[in-house]
């Protein structure tokens, strides 16, 4: 029995050493240690031995089983490694193949700018407010100190709704400025508010003119507020948008609802010494603004003797065109996916 066991052990070790694959090794293993394996068969016969012989032979049989197990295990590690090395050495797969296509949505460039600015202004404590697009003549013009015979009220500038004779006239708002008055009536002074939204003008469409576009109104009202505060706020906002400080300057500009009125220019963010965007001047006209006209404060129920403030108007469509280099405003309302899908959230 002892000899048979030892011979089995030697044969098993030899068979493991020559096994050339994990599968072959598994066969060898099963032929010795499996349910019908040679060693298993010997172990079953242990019971037939003399009681005196049994402990010693039993011990030996167990030792041999463990020896074979660890030897098979050791050989398996070697064979697995050999197989892995062989796999790695072979030419294998085309890892340059693409994965499944992920379809992306996209955001509208004007809305992207609007949402970005809203976030910046909210972080500076501004209320984001809104007003209707169908606006009364009183709010769109009268309350903003626009004289009753001002050309902007004529039908070649403003889109008017049909109205019955004697009825108050209603138009598509020509600017977001009526929200100045609405917000002041809602919240009173002091107030910091912006109002992004859609505005409408009578325009013949071409590359730079659209009848439907977007603006963002800004208004700050408080005590002793002057031009320096406006300049500071504008500089901060620009730093937020362009992620760096931009030099700015004020030029005279005329708008009935502000006095004094300004055009705010910023150093062209796209060049150092003149480019197409700034038409070679290194300055770009960014937004109109000014100190809120006392007549506007009065119309909004705020006492101009106590409060003053500044207002500004950002052309969101224009900003988007500047930021992304869009040369034709007519793409904005085209719904053309080849245009839209370039702008990621």
């Amino acid at each position: 029995m002892r000899e048979r066991l030892e011979a089995l052990c030697d044969a098993g070790l030899a068979a493991a050493a020559v096994a050339e694959s994990v599968a072959q090794l598994a066969e060898v293993e099963s032929s010795y240690l499996g349910r019908t394996g040679a060693l298993t068969a010997q172990l079953k016969e242990l019971g037939k031995l003399d009681a005196a012989e049994r402990p010693a032979i039993g011990k030996l049989a167990n030792e041999i089983k463990q020896q074979l197990q660890s030897s098979f295990e050791a050989r398996r590690v070697v064979l697995k490694r050999q197989q892995l090395d062989a796999d790695l050495a072979s030419v294998g797969v085309d890892s340059s193949l693409p994965g499944p296509t992920v379809e992306l949505g996209s955001v509208h460039p004007v809305m992207a700018i609007a949402r970005e600015l809203e976030e910046i202004f909210q972080s500076m404590g501004f209320v984001v407010w809104d007003g209707p697009e169908l606006e009364s003549e009183a709010n769109n013009f009268d309350a903003l100190n626009i004289p009753s015979d001002h050309p902007a009220r004529e039908s070649h500038d403003t889109i008017w709704m049909k109205s019955a004779p004697g009825e108050d006239r209603r138009c598509l708002r020509t600017h977001t400025s009526p929200v100045q008055v609405r917000a002041l009536r809602e919240f009173g002074a002091p107030l910091r508010v912006i109002a992004p939204g859609r505005v409408f003008r009578q325009e013949v469409q071409d590359a730079t003119h659209e009848h439907t576009f977007h603006q963002m109104e800004g208004l700050v009202v408080g005590k002793d507020i002057g031009v320096p505060h406006m300049l500071h706020a504008m500089n901060s906002m620009l730093e937020g948008v362009f992620k760096r400080k931009l030099e700015t300057r004020l030029r005279p500009g005329f708008f009935p609802f502000v006095e004094p009125g300004f055009e705010l220019d910023a150093r062209c963010p796209f060049c150092k010494d003149g480019c197409k965007v700034c038409k070679g001047s290194t300055w770009i006209e960014l937004m109109p603004g000014g100190l809120v006209h006392p007549n506007v404060l009065t119309a909004a129920g705020v006492d101009p003797e106590v409060y003053s403030g500044f207002a500004f108007g950002l052309g969101l469509s224009r900003m988007a065109m500047l930021r992304y280099g869009i040369h034709d405003i007519r793409y904005m309302c085209s719904g053309d996916l080849r245009f839209l899908n370039q702008f990621q959230a």
Binding site: V107, H108, E133, K162, R198, V220, G222, I225
Partner: protein
């Protein structure tokens, strides 16, 4: 508007400043300069030369061979074709190497065998006038070798101003106004406007009739005799007019234009012999009255147009243009010179209505100072009498109306001026800035009393803040130092619908491959009928951008649909979304209702299944479930509700769903009716739309309470059941039946297969569900599973079918 710096230099000394400097000063202090043109630069190489010899060309009858002295060591030979070339004449020579207008470079050449080393120029070749007869003849004392632009003082810079930045400034529509600005900016003296003129003692034989002083504040007429008729204007005047883009006609018209460009006040000359009677009236036109302007435009007047009329006809459209019937021509020997102040709005409307915008009308539109009328007529008479001996002013002007302007005295507080501007400016500088602009200032403690000059009082200076601007812009806005705002620390109020809409929109973009778009708020009239509506169901535009597009949309579905055709060629399927508005009349109070709508439109090939997960409606239902789920709203769906098509005329009668929460409508999902799809030019595609009422979602979210539940302790039992049902029984009914069978034990239920075909009876389909049953207090056993299956079987039988296997 164009201004000549030489001309401005008549009134303020700017000789030491470059055109760039002046342009920058005006842009930063007054109005935007859009460009600078240098006149004379294009003929800089042309010099004064004298003709020394002049011989007939041996081989050409019409050519002469000349030699000229132009100040160089050697004379040059030039072949010239002009008949007026002769020995001793001083001419304008373009020598070899000189470049003339039109990029015409002068080269050495041979003309019929004779060497020609330059060109003797005519007026038109050096752009001094339009017409040219022969070469330009210079005075005998012209210095040989001098640059022509220096000798004729042609070197000038012309600034082009942005007219839009001048609309509020009636005083800036002539050179003198800019001289006044520069005198204030540079702190240099301003010369008085040269309008002295001694009127004759004789009274005019004309009388004036002013019908409406609201429309015409004053009107003035002066009689002049021009013995020799209209002549050519002197060269200096022609040059100035041409330099700023004003065409040259004859001296009568040119002087009128010259004064207009100088002071800003238009005047008009009538041929006195063509005017009947001795009374001139300023009155409203007769409606439908025909009138021919001097530029030969035939107009039919409106009753609101103001005209100038003689005894029997209209002779001018007030402030806009004179009539052909009274125009100055070659035979004119006496004129009536009109200088008047017409109402800005009336002139603008007349000019606009008849499409007759003129230099005069664009100035009257700005509300000119009526006091200019006298200065202008004096300046015209002065210039004409200086230029010609045969011009005589026959009578003192006859005048009607009043040139008074209600000039208010305004009070400014100097401390307030400093606060608002943020410029540390002394009282003295404030005073000086205002005074230089023509204001009269009187100090009064901390206040200043300021009298507004009439040329600023008609329009732009109305209140104290207007003076703050005057002080600030002359001082210079570059002196303002930015200052941070001190404000209370508060959480800004937010609009719930904006926040919610933004969140949902970003979800559509990031999770549902939607492309955010923008679509127009107005829709074509033809789309009313497409939706079974009439135009009167919409808010209508009185003056639409396009006549056929005059309705304010009720919802954006068709606007988005109209964006599909541009995409179809490259994108067989696609998804567009927009947060936007619909518009409707509120009959209660006559105000418009603007509903805030989140819309998503998808299109795909027309062979997609019409129901289920692959269908367009199925896809949108998944999207809607995701969005409402994001807001924790458990939305209910109603299939093909009866009233949906009446509210949304584009909806498909058999493939639409209404979404609601707590009986409040949240929106709809619908396939767009195939007839509407093809009417909008979309071919071979199906389209479906999701419209969500954002305000309703805000309300629904407010009513929803989030309730936490602990993760389950006991395992669930998974049971698959397949029901064979008549095809009339839909998913919703089957789903309800299986859910009811599970009762309280229902944890999850999901459809995993819909089938019809072999193994089923005709008119049957099968729906298979995976159901998870779970109890919170015990592990479920076989008994409960069997009881559930029995209940499903019974329910299937009640629906006219049976449980399969």
């Amino acid at each position: 508007m164009k201004i000549s710096l030489n001309w401005v230099g008549d009134f303020v000394d700017i000789s030491d400043k470059s055109a760039e400097e002046i342009s920058a000063l005006l842009s930063m202090h007054t109005a935007e300069v859009e460009g600078i043109e240098y006149s004379g630069a294009n003929i800089a190489g042309v010099v004064v030369a004298e003709v020394l010899t002049c011989e007939q060309h041996p081989d050409a009858d019409k050519l002469s061979v000349t030699t000229l002295n132009y100040g160089a060591e050697e004379t040059v030979q030039v072949v010239c074709g002009a008949p007026n070339v002769r020995v001793g004449l001083k001419v304008a020579l373009a020598p070899v190497g000189c470049v003339l207008p039109g990029d015409f470079k002068i080269k050495k050449a041979k003309l019929r065998g004779q060497l020609s080393q330059g060109m003797i120029c005519s007026d038109s070749e050096i752009e001094l006038s339009d017409a040219s007869e022969g070469i330009k003849e210079l005075p005998a004392d012209a210095p040989i070798g001098a640059r022509l632009i220096d000798y004729l003082e042609l070197s000038d810079a012309i600034l082009e101003l942005d007219n839009k930045s001048l609309t509020h400034r009636p005083d800036l529509w002539g050179h003198y106004g800019f001289a006044r600005e520069l005198s204030a900016i540079l702190k240099r003296p301003l010369k008085e406007y040269p309008s002295e003129f001694e009127w004759p003692a004789e009274a005019s034989e004309y009388t004036l009739q002013l019908d409406d002083q609201q429309q015409t504040s004053c009107y003035q007429l002066t009689e002049l005799s021009v013995g020799g008729g209209p002549q050519v204007s002197p060269e200096w005047m022609q040059q100035r007019l041409l330099a700023v883009g004003q065409c040259v006609v004859n001296d009568i018209v040119d002087v009128s234009n010259y004064v207009m460009l100088e002071l800003g006040q238009p005047t008009h000359a009538f041929d006195k012999d063509k005017v009947s009677g001795k009374q001139i009236s300023v009155r409203r036109a007769t409606a439908e009255e025909g009138f021919v302007t001097l530029d030969e435009t035939e107009c039919t007047l409106m009753a609101s147009d103001m005209v100038i009329a003689d005894a029997d006809k209209s002779i001018a459209l007030a402030g806009v243009m004179g009539g052909a019937n009274s125009e100055v021509d070659d035979t004119t020997t006496s004129i009536l010179l009109e200088s008047a102040s017409f109402d800005a709005t009336s002139v603008r409307r007349t000019a606009l209505h008849h499409n007759l915008r003129s230099e005069a009308s664009s100035r009257f539109e700005k509300s000119l100072d009526p006091n200019y009328t006298l200065s202008a007529s004096q300046r015209v008479c002065q210039l004409l009498c200086e230029m010609r001996d045969d011009v005589k002013v026959d009578s003192a002007p006859v005048f009607a109306g009043s040139a008074d302007v209600a000039s208010e005295r305004l009070t400014i507080n100097v401390a307030n001026v400093r606060t608002l501007l943020g410029i540390d400016i002394s009282d003295q500088d404030i005073d000086q800035n205002l005074t230089a602009l023509g204001f009269e200032v009187e100090a009064n403690g901390d206040d200043m009393q300021v009298l507004v000059p009439s040329f600023r009082a008609t329009k732009d200076i109305q209140s104290a803040v207007d003076l703050v601007e005057e002080v600030g812009r002359i001082a210079g806005y570059d002196k303002i130092v930015p200052q941070p705002l001190c404000a209370p620390i508060e959480v800004p109020k937010q609009l719930d619908y904006r926040r919610l809409a933004s969140k949902l929109l970003m979800r559509l973009v990031n999770n549902h491959q939607a492309h955010e778009t923008q679509s127009y708020s107005f829709i074509p009239d033809a789309w009313a009928k497409l939706q079974g509506l009439s135009c009167d169901d919409f808010i209508q535009i009185a003056n639409p951008v396009n006549d056929a597009v005059s309705l304010m949309r009720q919802n954006p579905a068709l606007s988005l649909l109209s964006q599909v055709p541009v995409n179809q060629r490259e994108f067989p399927s696609g998804r567009l979304c927009e947060f936007t508005k619909g518009y409707a009349e509120d009959d209660e109070n006559g105000e418009a209702i603007e509903s805030r709508i989140l819309a998503m439109l998808i299109w795909g090939p027309s062979d997609l299944p019409k129901s289920g997960q692959q269908s367009l409606v199925g896809q949108l239902r998944s999207v809607a479930a995701d969005l409402t789920g994001l807001l924790n709203i458990n939305a209910q769906y109603q299939v093909n509700p009866d009233d949906l098509q009446s509210r949304f005329g584009f909806a498909h009668p058999k493939q639409c769903l209404a979404l609601s929460f707590a009986r409040q409508s949240l929106g709809i999902i619908s396939r767009v009716h195939p007839a509407v799809v093809s009417a909008l030019g979309v071919d071979n595609s199906d389209v479906a739309v999701l419209l969500l009422d954002v305000d309703a979602l805000v309300d629904a979210q407010a009513k929803t309470k989030f309730k936490f539940s602990s993760p389950p302790t006991f395992p669930a039992v998974k049971v698959d059941v397949a029901l064979a049902l008549p095809t009339g029984v839909d998913y919703a009914a089957a789903h309800n039946a299986v859910s009811a069978a599970a009762g309280k034990l229902l944890d999850q239920i999901e459809l995993f297969d819909v089938y019809s075909g072999p193994g089923l009876k005709d008119g049957q389909h099968s729906m298979a569900f995976t159901v998870l049953l779970r109890a919170s207090d015990r592990t479920l056993g076989d008994k409960e599973e069997q009881s559930f299956i029995q209940k499903v079987s019974k329910a299937a039988e009640q629906l006219g079918g049976n449980l399969r296997s």
